[in-house]
Symmetry: C2
Subunit: 118 residues, 2 copies
């Protein structure tokens, strides 16, 4: 039990100038929950722990998602994109939701939408 | 016909030190297709044009997704996250797919997965 990972793919990841890359977190039905940032260490913790860990750019520290709220995320799979500079993390979302505002997803505010003929 | 948008929400967006934010592109069934970067100008073009525009960090230029391949993305909706620093763009994907490698999604390579009891 735990997370199995591909060493070569892990070593091929391309981080930005700050040593970070964005990670899109989706649930087991592929709904987008949130986007956060990871570096090598956050990924290492995630693989060991089996729950999501991120790096906070504003607080400059690692955070274990749900450590205080209980809304942890069990990692089911981590998928890498074509450029190896973005992760898609599939999780089982525990508790009420992913967002600190109390909603299930962090994406709730419609900024724009198509009108008229689709 | 076109894209209607919320002026206030648009003005509230928080870009990073480079003037950029990540945009997660999902299709009409919420499958994650790709992640790319936008700045104010790329968003402006997207709202006017109704198709996705991004900013390439490596080429330092705007790109109209699918301009050469024909695999354009018709914007259906743009949703903002709780911190107003990430976009979720819902699109109708035209052509074969979103990825320059020829796949439908850019996320095809499984780096890690849970084993044993789910």
């Amino acid at each position: 039990m735990g997370i199995e990972y591909d060493d070569e793919l892990l070593a091929s990841l391309v981080f930005d100038g700050r040593g970070l890359m964005p990670a899109v977190v989706v649930d087991d039905e592929e709904r987008v929950l949130m986007v956060a940032w990871v570096d090598e260490e956050a990924i290492r913790r995630m693989l060991l722990d089996g729950e999501t860990w991120f790096y906070s750019r504003s607080r400059q520290e690692y955070w274990h998602k749900g450590a205080t709220s209980g809304n942890t995320q069990k990692v089911l799979a981590i998928v890498v994109d074509c450029d190896a500079d973005t992760l898609l993390i599939r999780v089982h979302q525990n508790g009420g939701g992913a967002c600190h505002t109390g909603t299930y997803s962090c994406f709730t505010r419609m900024m724009a939408h198509r009108v008229g003929q689709p």
